[in-house]
Structures are given as structure tokens and as C-alpha cells.
């Protein structure tokens, strides 16, 4: 087992461990922090795969954006410091079922995919290529989803402004 493999297993254990802690934590703020570490671990996995661009985007979007928003909304709730009540027994059972079936489903998918051993030579990923691919109109271009997503974001932004706007008092 090479050093690279050891690092992979360390990162994976970190992701899974913090993920389990995020689910089982009794304080909601701690759960958010464990989730944060889990997401950072995934970014580390991308770094390990030498996909720096995706790793950086993962950190910006999830750590800098989503988790900060989650923490903010926790701050605004009343009982953020209190311990949460124990979940009901039935809920535990059903969540166990859900976990089991999801695991089985993913396992099946991965098993049937039949990975062929990828070519070992490292690939060079240029940022300008990503940009070109995003805006290319050829068969494998991403121009349509890119534009659709930007429309979605624009709609979300306008919605935010409408919600935040003060009604005119006359």
C-alpha cells in the first residue's frame, strides 16, 4: 500500500467519521460544524485527485456559502445552545432503513458499472478549457445548462429582493 492510498483512506475515514458525528450530534450548532468538516474532507479528496479547481469551488460554495448560511440561521434561532430531544424510536428505525437501502442502491450501481482501470498518466487540466467548455455550443458543450442555471439564480435574486422590499406605507 503506497502513501497515496494511505492518504486516501485517512481522508475517507475523516469524511465518514465527521458525517456520522454530524448526524448524531445533540447540539445543532455542533452538527453544522461536523457537516463543515465533512465537506472540507470532500474538498481534500478532490485535492488528492489533483482536481484543484473543483476542490476550490467545493470550498467556496459549500464551506464559504452554504455552511455559513446554515450557521447564520442557527444563530437566529432561539435555542441554538440547547440539547435537542432524542428522536423517536420509529424514526430511528425508518432512518436506518433509508440508510440501508441507499447504501444497497449505491453499492449495486458501483458494482454494475464495471470500472476499467484508468490510464495512469496524470492529466493536465487548464482553467481556460473549463471556461471554453462551459460556453461551447458543440455537442458536449455546457452552454444550455449554464444559461439555465444563471436564469434560475437571477430569478432567485429577484425573489429575494421582492421579499426583502418594504411595502410602501401611504
Amino acid at each position: 500500500m503506497g502513501a497515496s492510498k494511505i492518504i486516501f483512506y485517512i481522508i475517507s475515514t475523516f469524511i465518514l467519521g465527521t458525517g456520522i458525528l454530524a448526524v448524531t450530534a445533540t447540539k445543532i450548532f455542533r452538527a453544522a460544524i461536523w457537516l463543515l468538516f465533512s465537506l472540507i474532507g470532500i474538498a481534500a479528496l478532490y485535492f488528492w485527485m489533483q482536481l484543484e479547481f473543483i476542490a476550490a469551488v467545493q470550498i467556496i460554495v459549500y464551506v464559504g456559502g452554504i455552511v455559513v448560511l446554515i450557521i447564520f440561521s442557527i444563530f437566529l434561532t432561539q435555542k441554538s445552545g440547547d440539547e435537542m430531544p432524542k428522536p423517536l424510536q420509529q424514526r430511528k428505525l425508518f432512518s436506518l432503513f433509508a440508510v440501508f437501502f441507499a447504501f444497497a442502491f449505491t453499492y449495486l450501481l458501483i458494482h454494475q458499472y464495471g470500472f476499467y482501470s484508468s490510464n495512469p498518466q496524470p492529466f493536465e487540466l487548464k482553467i481556460s478549457d473549463i471556461g471554453m467548455q462551459m460556453l461551447s455550443t458543440t455537442e458536449h458543450g455546457f452552454i444550455l445548462p449554464f444559461e439555465v442555471v444563471s436564469m434560475l439564480l437571477l430569478a432567485a435574486m429577484i425573489g429575494c429582493i421582492v421579499i426583502a422590499m418594504k411595502a410602501k406605507t401611504e
Binding site: A3, K27, F29, R30, I33, L36, I40, E52, F53, A55, A56, V57, I59, I60, V63, G64, G65, V67, V68, I71, F72, F75, S80, G81, L125, K126, I127, S128
Partner: protein, 358 residues
């Protein structure tokens, strides 16, 4: 001439000649780590002393002048005091997160050091996504601040943390947009490429008006992101009794304090790299004789000089302007800086496409 690049190459070759590559790499890791920590400690000492001296000079005072000649060892004495103090953890605090928070802030500051080019060929990690990496990692440090504020179990800390969060999240936008203007002009987000593109003049002069606007926006946004006056609402002493680090004492407080100054240094180093050419000496277009004379000044001196000039600028802001209110702070970002920087980005794109820069 003795250059830093020569020294690093010498060490690299020496280690590779004596050990096998893995051990040599580990040794280099250790050396880089020790160098980074030493740099941090010295920077903390120097910058705090500089801040106090600059503050004193601007307020017609003398500043620290008792410990050592001209008060040079004042900050060393302060550090010694902080080391000897007890690190209290308040009752009712979330102990684990409370103790973790200063380290997260510090680690984020340390990670930011990696892609900065200190001199010609003297860079820890020339990562190919340089600028993106910097904006990614700098968003981690806000987590440390939020964590500290929440875990302290103190309403002032929580308020400070929330202010800091709102501030950093909003000012990241205009900082990012002003960084993008340089990326548009350079066509690369690797820091070494950005430095290399300024060989015939710094972007601040080559890109004239739009780049000057984005430089001003960058400085304002970066001052806000490092929580410095006039944007120090997060730690406003007079309102929140130091905000998120109210409950911290001893070495944990020192880590927050150090991280603040390290962040200033890093922000200014990035500003110097993007707008003032990093380690690149002052070159003017095709004046080869002039450029050659400028090359005689070592590149590390250029880098340090530019960075400290920007740091001085930020200190100048701090000791001149009064603190903003929260609504003023958000107004400034969302109603002024963000629209201007978006418009400016368009302008820069036009300039870059038409080739109107020098």
C-alpha cells in the same frame, strides 16, 4: 548575487543528493513549516510594533519607547506576557469548539501563505488555480470567527460573530470581482503567470482607470474582510468589548491577534501581487536600460516593499477614519461597491478585448 531562488535550489539539490526522494521531500516539508512559523512570529512582532508606532505618529505621540531602543522589544515583552497568562475557558462554553476556533483561524491564515510568491522563484506551492485557491481558503476563516462567537456563550461574542459573518460574506463579493478584473486582463489565475504578465509594467499603470478603480475597491473590501477599522464592527471595543474574542485569554487570544495581523499581511501581499507586480521590479514598457537598473534591486525587497506600503495604507485608514455603523457598512457594499465593481468588470472586459491597455 545571492538570491533566494539560488538558496532553495541549493538546499533541494543537497537534500536529494544525500537522501532518497521521499525523505528529501519530508525534510523540505519540515523546513517550509519551520520557515512559515518563524515568518508568522516575526510578522506578528513587527506588524504590531509598526501599527503602534504609526498610530502614535499620526496622533502626535511617541508610541512605545521604554522597552529596548525606541521601544523595539515592546511586542516581544507583550508576547511573553500573553504566554504566561492562564488560558481560561468560561463556564457554560462549548469547550471543544471554543478551543478549536483559534486554531481554525490560524490554520486558514497559514494555508493562505502557500501560493504567495515572495521573490523570483521563491514560492511554496505554485498552484494552478492560485487566485481561486486564495478566495476559497479565506472563506474558511469566517467559520473560525463564527465558531468562537458561538462557543463563548456570551451575547457580545455572538453579536460580534454575526456582524463579522455578514461583513465578510458581503465584502467577499466585491473583493472577488476586483480580483477578476486582473484575471480578465492576464488571462490566467495562476499567480506566477500574473506576476510574469507584469514584466513590462504593473497592472495598476498598464490598466489605467478601470484597474485603479478596482484597486481602490480591492483595498476597501480587503480592509473589511480582515475586520480592521473603519470596518471593525466585529470587535468594536467600545460597543462589544472586543466582540468574538471577548472570552479568550492568554495564548488563545494571542492566536486570534496574530491571525488578524497575518491576514493583513497576506491580503496586502495578494494586493501587491495582483496590482503592483509582486516581486517584479518597476519596469516601464521598452526602456531596457531603465528596466535593467531596476533589476539590480533584489526581487524579495521589491515584494516586501510593496506589501509594507499597502500595510501602511491600511494602517493609515485605521487611524484616520471613524467606525461605520452596521447599516452603513452594508449600504456601502451593496449600494456602492458591488454595482461599481460590476460595472468596472464590464469596462475591463471591453478594455481587454479592444486591447486599450498598455
Amino acid at each position: 548575487m545571492l538570491s533566494l531562488e539560488g538558496i532553495t535550489n541549493f538546499i533541494d539539490e543537497g537534500l536529494n543528493a544525500t537522501f532518497n526522494p521521499t525523505i528529501a521531500l519530508l525534510c523540505e516539508f519540515a523546513i517550509v513549516g519551520i520557515c512559515a512559523i518563524t515568518l508568522f512570529a516575526t510578522l506578528g512582532l513587527v506588524l504590531v510594533l509598526m501599527e503602534r508606532k504609526v498610530a502614535a505618529f499620526m496622533q502626535i505621540r511617541l508610541g512605545p519607547n521604554r522597552v529596548g531602543p525606541m521601544g523595539m522589544f515592546q511586542t516581544a515583552a507583550d508576547t511573553l506576557k500573553l504566554v504566561m497568562k492562564e488560558g481560561l475557558t468560561p463556564d457554560g462554553a462549548d469547550k471543544f469548539l471554543f478551543n478549536l476556533a483559534p486554531f481554525i483561524v490560524m490554520i486558514a491564515a497559514m494555508l493562505l501563505l502557500a501560493p504567495i510568491a515572495f521573490a523570483k522563484g521563491f514560492q511554496i506551492w505554485d498552484i494552478n488555480i492560485g487566485v481561486l485557491y486564495i478566495s476559497a481558503i479565506s472563506s474558511i476563516s469566517v467559520i473560525g470567527i463564527l465558531m468562537a462567537g458561538w462557543a463563548s456563550n456570551n451575547k457580545y461574542s455572538l453579536l460580534g460573530a454575526m456582524r463579522s459573518g455578514a461583513q465578510i460574506v458581503s465584502y467577499e463579493l466585491s473583493a472577488g470581482l476586483s480580483i477578476i478584473t486582473i484575471v480578465v486582463l492576464t488571462g490566467s489565475i495562476q499567480l506566477s503567470d500574473i506576476v510574469a504578465s507584469q514584466e513590462n509594467g504593473w497592472w495598476l499603470f498598464k490598466g489605467h482607470i478601470p484597474v485603479i478603480i478596482s484597486f481602490i475597491i480591492f483595498i476597501i473590501a480587503v480592509t473589511a474582510e480582515t475586520n480592521r477599522a473603519p470596518f471593525d464592527l466585529a470587535e468594536a471595543e467600545s460597543e462589544l468589548t472586543a466582540g468574538f474574542h471577548t472570552e479568550y485569554s492568554g495564548m488563545k487570544f494571542a492566536l486570534f491577534f496574530l491571525a488578524e495581523y497575518i491576514n493583513i499581511f497576506i491580503a496586502c501581499a495578494i494586493g501587491a501581487t495582483l496590482f503592483l507586480g509582486g516581486w517584479m521590479p518597476f519596469h516601464i514598457g521598452s526602456w531596457h536600460a531603465f528596466n535593467h537598473i531596476m533589476d539590480y534591486i533584489p526581487s524579495s525587497l521589491w515584494f516586501v516593499g510593496k506589501t509594507f506600503f499597502l500595510i501602511f495604507l491600511m494602517m493609515w485608514f485605521r487611524w484616520t477614519f471613524p467606525r461605520l455603523r452596521v447599516d452603513q457598512l452594508l449600504n456601502l457594499e451593496w449600494k456602492y461597491l458591488l454595482p461599481i465593481s460590476m460595472f468596472n468588470l464590464l469596462l475591463v472586459t471591453i478594455v481587454a478585448i479592444m486591447g486599450w491597455h498598455f
